[in-house]
């Protein structure tokens, strides 16, 4: 297992987990519509979600569109 910070909380994911696994882990829609992910503040393009492996202590943010002015 590896521990990352996922949306501000420590989270254990299987070794070899990718950004796509992190997106699923927070319960974001599978198709990714309206969803974006960043590692350490850098956007990970959707096309790389299934190939970009996470490493320990990555700060992963998974965001989606919500109501806002």
């Amino acid at each position: 297992m590896l521990t990352v910070t996922l949306n501000g909380q420590p989270r254990e994911l299987p070794d070899g987990a990718t950004v796509a696994d992190a997106v699923r882990a927070v319960g974001a829609p599978e198709d990714g519509r309206g969803v974006a992910a960043a590692i350490d503040g850098e956007v990970v393009p959707r096309a790389q979600w299934t190939v970009r492996a996470l490493i320990a202590e990555d700060r992963v943010e998974v965001l989606r569109a919500v109501q806002g002015g």
Binding site: V26, V35, A37, A38, V43, V66, Q67, G68, G69
Partner: protein, 256 residues
């Protein structure tokens, strides 16, 4: 009302609706439809697995063009990162750039705002900055390549209307990009005043979303923006210190 353009894209409605503050997606849907808005703003936040419904489906149904914002950012760095995430999430390079400098008044941080605007323009974004009502800052943002300037009337959510009509007029007179009044609208007359002052459009959220009857207030805002625009172009009479009779002064009968 004639259409207006931002960065070469044409919009029919001059009312832009912010989606923050609605009590439910259904309330938002009714109000957005009643507003007639073509453009709706959204924010980006951490995924909440318990959230129900999809705001994007609702706004798609309403036919809205999505304008993501950088609300909640206090530095240029955060705002730029948020804009890039929004571009990825929504496949748009348009952004309502918001960099707050004070968490009590929610007034913009001018220097961070300008830095972020420059960086995002260089990165190919269509930048619509929420700015203070400072004519010099508006000019600097325009010079930086922003597609519009969006001065506040008064602080976000305050409902205080247009606090400094004189500054707003200076911004309108000088701008070569669309001027969109953003923030501070409380009721319909505020929106009409903004349009009469020569703004190209009005962006509001709380005035509708937190009204007792959001859809009814959205209708009022749509009419106010249309009325203000029409009045601006109809050519109002000058203000006079004294009265000027509208009935003929000749031919008045002598009856006593």
């Amino acid at each position: 009302m004639t259409a207006f353009e931002i960065a070469g894209r044409s919009f029919e409605s001059r009312l832009i609706i912010g989606t923050g503050g609605f009590r439910s997606l259904e309330s938002m849907r009714e109000a957005v439809l009643a507003s007639g808005a073509d453009v709706a703003t959204v924010a980006l936040r951490r995924v909440d697995p318990s959230a129900r419904g999809s705001i994007l489906e609702v706004l798609d149904d309403c036919g809205c063009f999505l304008l993501p914002n950088t609300a909640g950012c206090f530095t240029a760095r955060d705002a730029v990162a948020t804009a890039r995430l929004a571009r990825e999430a929504l496949e748009t390079d348009w952004v309502k750039l918001e960099v707050i400098g004070d968490d009590k008044t929610l007034l913009p941080d001018p220097s961070e705002l300008l830095d972020a605007a420059e960086e995002l323009v260089a990165d190919g974004f269509t930048v619509l900055p929420y700015t203070s009502d400072d004519p010099v800052l508006a000019r600097r943002l325009e010079d930086a390549g922003c597609a519009a300037v969006m001065p506040l009337g008064s602080p976000i959510g305050s409902g205080m209307g247009i606090a400094n009509p004189y500054n707003l007029r200076l911004i309108v007179e000088a701008a070569r990009v669309p001027v969109i009044l953003d923030a501070g609208i409380g009721t319909a007359s505020d929106a009409a005043l903004a349009m009469e002052a020569g703004c190209d459009a009005v962006l509001l959220a709380s005035a509708v979303s937190r009204a007792r009857e959001p859809a009814a207030m959205a209708t009022a805002m749509r009419k106010a923006v249309e009325a203000g625009y029409a009045a601006r172009h109809a050519g109002r009479i000058p203000r006079r210190l004294y009265g000027e009779a509208s009935s003929p002064v000749e031919g008045v009968a002598e009856l006593t």
